[in-house]
Amino acid sequence: MTVKLWLEHAVQDAERRGLAQLKPLLEALARSTAALRMADWNDDATGGTTAGRKPA
């Protein structure tokens, strides 16, 4: 799941649960998750790494 799609789902679910005030926190978390996924220690099934890759 891309960070963008994850954020959309998370915000929708939070609003459904009556937690609209979570939205800015989830947006901040999404930025943090994007940074985490871009870290160059991440490898993947192709044998490559995330180094230099654009965020999803």
Partner: protein, 473 residues
């Protein structure tokens, strides 16, 4: 600032009321445990209505423990340097027969059936438990503003936070309501309030002190450690908490548990963490830190800069570990009693419930990378140096702080320099190294090799001689 409280009561003088000094006075018969305990209770009655550092005061129990400690000493039964010394305890540890509230209404009906192992060790060492201190609810915060029992106020300036999450612990020691306190540190929660209050705060290596019987925040980041008035005191408490009681007994009444030959800074090598660690730093803190590095060089130490290649990844790694682990612990309560949490803590816990397992695993991989980078930085050095807090004690109720030309979230800034060593598990200690022009304490942080907390304490003792209270540099 509402200063003068400590000055007027005689607890502000550097070195005053340390355990080491008091333990020696006890053994010379110049005071008694009962007198020390009564004085702490008097200060609590006088000052804590405004500071709010205690959730539970164990007055009668403490007086009984003190009387028993005096009887034992009179009969020649000396339990060691903590015998008869009044301590406070963060209200996150179980004490048999008392509530462990974690500063939350969620735990309003809780009464501990047993003592936490660290409480049992303190009792065995003869400590008098004076009371249980206020904290940021469930230790999930750095200011103590979100507590079911109200915020803790800084004893030097009641418009400010004493730091957190062990803020009540720090305030109680600073205000002379206890000689030391035990806190927990998941991202800096011992070191941050210790630095904000001009105390020594120790986070040992991961796993060195049992966290059993403590309400968890994040099980792979949680540490237990003391807040004290000196490095010697921290060393003595650390020994007791790790079970090195024979050593503790042997050093009762000695000037210092740290051998003099370990205190020479000549030839010691220190690495100053650069870039990320100095990028967001109040100018007064930066200025004093530079002065401290100069003092250490003059004392014969070699000081050089060191860079951690993945330092910028520290906040996301920390966030994904702490939120995931905290959310797992709180999930059932969030579903059943969400309204019993303070709003901010509830929202941060709810945020953790949306994290994906794959991102938690990425953060764990990042932990391995960061741990190896800190290990590498320490391979040719005795310790790493950095400020503990990037700012002085912040104003209560103010969510951002101006650093340079930008406004930064207080929470992020307060965690910035401490959270790495919870991720990696390296021992870290803060000691006071000066004050701002407003008289607010500044903390110096030292980081040592994993599993070598005793060596770090010896280095801290040596540095305390150079930069501690009264050394303006």
């Amino acid at each position: 600032m509402s200063t003068g409280r400590r000055d007027a009561d005689g607890a502000a003088q550097p070195g005053a009321r340390t355990i080491a000094v008091t333990a020696a006075a006890l053994r010379r018969g110049e005071t008694s445990s009962l007198a020390l305990t009564e004085e702490c209770l008097r200060r609590i009655a006088q000052w804590d209505r405004s500071i709010n550092s205690f959730i539970t005061v164990l007055g009668e129990q403490a007086l009984a423990q003190a009387a028993a400690a005096d009887r034992e000493l009179a009969n020649g039964h000396d339990r060691g340097p903590l015998h008869g010394i009044p301590f406070s305890l963060k209200d996150i540890f179980d004490v048999r027969g008392t509530a462990t509230t974690a500063a939350s209404r969620i735990r309003s009906d809780h009464v501990a059936a047993e003592d936490a192992p660290i409480v049992a060790r303190l009792r065995q060492a003869g400590v008098v438990l004076i009371g249980k201190t206020n904290l940021h609810e469930f230790a999930l915060g750095t200011t103590n503003e979100e507590s079911a029992f109200g915020p803790v106020h800084h004893p030097l300036d009641e418009t400010r936070s004493p730091g957190g999450s062990s803020g009540g612990s720090a305030a109680s020691v600073l205000a002379g309501m206890a000689y030391a306190s035990i806190g927990t540190d998941t991202g800096g929660s011992v070191r941050i309030p210790a630095a904000a209050c001009g105390l020594v705060g120790l986070k040992p290596s991961f796993g060195e002190i049992s966290t059993n019987g403590a309400v968890p925040l994040s099980t792979t980041l949680d540490h237990v450690g003391p807040l004290c008035r000196s490095v010697d005191d921290a060393c003595m408490v650390f020994r007791v908490l790790t079970g090195a009681s024979a050593f503790a007994r042997a050093t009762a009444g000695q000037e210092s548990p740290v051998h003099k030959e370990w205190r020479d800074l000549r030839g010691k090598r220190f690495g100053v963490l650069a870039e990320y660690f100095t990028a967001v730093l109040d100018s007064q803190i930066a200025q004093r830190f530079d002065q401290v590095c100069t003092l250490l060089t003059r004392a014969g130490a070699a000081v050089d800069e060191v860079r951690l290649p993945h330092a910028a990844d520290i906040p996301p790694v920390y966030l994904h570990i702490v939120l995931a682990e905290a959310a797992a612990y709180h999930a059932a309560s969030l579903d059943s009693r969400a309204d019993a949490y303070t709003e901010g803590v509830r929202m941060r816990l709810e945020m953790g419930r949306y994290l994906l397992a794959e991102d938690y695993v990425r953060a764990l991989r990042g932990r391995d990378v960061l741990t190896e980078e800190v290990n590498a930085a320490l391979r040719s050095r005795d310790a790493l140096l950095l400020p503990t807090l990037a700012i002085a004690a912040p104003k209560l109720g103010v969510p951002t702080v101006r650093i340079g030309s930008s406004d930064e979230p207080v929470r992020n800034v307060m965690l910035r320099l401490t959270q790495l060593f919870n991720i990696t598990g390296h021992p870290a200690i803060t000691l006071p190294c000066g004050t701002t022009p407003d008289g607010l304490p500044i903390g110096l942080q030292l980081v040592g090799a994993a599993g070598h907390t005793t060596d770090l304490l010896a280095i801290a003792r040596a540095i305390e001689d150079q930069v501690g209270p009264g050394k303006s540099g």
